[in-house]
């Protein structure tokens, strides 16, 4: 393979821009997914009537359909009934719709994993349900959920690669464009793979470090 380094050097700013877009998208998607997931898992845990069915339906719909189709529906379908969103909002809404259910499942399994004895001890010293959630259940549930929350964050970051389908200039879409314009296939793809490595490897190391840190908070062991 004979790489044209000059071409690589000249494309760097474009890849930088695309990476920034990916980071922005992933940031908002992860943040909103965490919020949606937290709210959904709490509502589900306290078995709020009526809401529960809605949440279960949401989780099943979101987990059993591909992001690409969700995005097409949001971007090309919804304007037909008068709901217009920019590409960026569509992507963030789509990613949140997808990520929210994954985060909810992660929180739920964290909440379920808090030992029964913890809750009973809390009740026996006279904590209210709110205090119990705030001081006993949630901190532990959060620590237990960290690994799966982290895995979901990386999953969402990777899923942003699909947003090119609704004409956002992310890394994959840029690469496709550049290949079409300059036929520098090897160089463009090398930059693409390198860009994802630069984004995801540090995140993955950060998460495993964080995972070790919060383990200290766990009860027992």
């Amino acid at each position: 393979m004979n790489l044209n380094w000059n071409y690589i050097y000249e494309s760097l700013p474009l890849y930088g821009e695309a990476m920034w877009l990916t980071v922005k998208l992933a940031f908002w998607a992860i943040l909103f997914s965490l919020i949606v997931g937290l709210v959904a898992s709490i509502l589900q845990h306290y078995q709020v009537k009526g809401v529960q069915t809605v949440i279960t339906a949401y989780i099943e719909l979101s987990r059993n359909t591909p992001l690409l189709v969700q995005l097409f529906f949001l971007y090309y379908g919804l304007p037909k009934i008068g709901i217009y969103m920019s590409e960026m909002s569509c992507a963030i809404v789509g990613l949140t719709f997808l990520g929210g259910s994954y985060m909810a499942e992660a929180f739920r399994s964290g909440i379920e994993a808090v030992p029964r004895g913890q809750i009973e001890s809390g009740l026996s010293i006279g904590l209210s349900r709110l205090q119990l959630a705030r001081h006993v259940v949630m901190p532990q549930a959060f620590a237990i959920s960290i690994p799966s929350l982290g895995a979901n964050a990386i999953f969402l970051l990777k899923e942003t690669s699909v947003v090119g389908a609704i004409s956002l200039m992310d890394l994959t879409n840029l690469t496709r464009d550049l290949i079409g314009m300059f036929y520098r296939t090897e160089e463009s793809l090398l930059l693409l793979v390198a860009a994802y490595l630069v984004l995801i490897l540090p995140l993955s190391f950060l998460l495993s470090w964080l995972e070790r840190k919060v383990r200290y908070a766990e009860f027992g062991d």
Binding site: L68, S161, T172
Partner: protein, 225 residues
């Protein structure tokens, strides 16, 4: 009264064409699941062996798929391997190739996890009875590991079916592409087609994946207790 536009799904052969597109999606997904599972079983067995170079290489192979998005691998295969080999294997085969390799990596991890989760005395009792390594795997470890693998394997299958929707981006004519064709054809006559067509495709994917998720959860619950 203004028409809703849902008729577009049933005009001409549109309905059957969409189902035909879904069939292509399912074909790609299931071929890849089949090949990926077969390769993954082997890979999982290899990953339990105590050879560190082998472990390192297979771990590296898995992480490569975990870190780089599948769409990127599709592009790499589509834009590099095919021209390099100088044969046009087309988008469909490219997709099967990439998904099979990815499936093998993930399946390998599921198999390894299942084998390593078995209590150590199972292996030791087998040895004490004088069974050979092959017999231990054949009669003791694999039958027990299969139960533990099942929920993960079905989950992987639904993930692969969902990911198959990406093949439209490398030019395969499957359900999403057929949907786009129907929408483009009806730009004037059925301007609202896109919401119905994409809504319908959304439901189609759900109908394929939901039963599998249910099945996986059922197995998970049954074997947990």
């Amino acid at each position: 009264m203004q028409s809703l536009g849902i008729e577009v799904l049933f005009q001409g052969s549109n309905f059957m064409r969409l189902l035909g597109g879904l069939l292509v999606t399912i074909e790609i997904a299931f071929t890849s699941i089949f090949i990926g599972t077969a390769l993954g079983l082997l890979m999982g067995l290899l990953r339990t062996l105590k050879s560190w170079p082998l472990r390192f290489i297979l771990r590296f192979y898995l992480e490569a798929f975990r870190i780089i998005p599948i769409l990127v691998w599709l592009y790499v295969a589509y834009f590099i391997f095919t021209p390099m080999l100088r044969v046009d294997i087309g988008g469909e085969l490219t997709a099967v190739l990439v998904f099979s390799l990815w499936g093998a990596a993930e399946m390998g991890d599921i198999v390894r996890g299942a084998l390593e989760s078995l209590p150590k005395h199972q292996l030791e009792s087998g040895k004490a009875l004088g069974l050979k390594a092959g017999q231990i795997y054949r009669y003791i470890l694999i039958p027990q590991a299969v139960r533990r693998m099942l929920p993960g394997t079905i989950n992987l299958a639904t993930r692969m079916i969902k990911t198959t929707s990406l093949v439209v981006l490398i030019g395969v004519i499957e359900v999403v592409k057929v949907g786009q064709q129907i929408i483009e054809l009806g730009v004037i006559k059925a301007p609202n087609a896109s919401i119905w067509v994409y809504g319908f495709i959304f439901i189609l994917f759900f109908l394929v994946c939901y039963p599998l998720s249910r099945l996986s959860r059922k197995f998970e619950r049954r074997w947990q207790s």
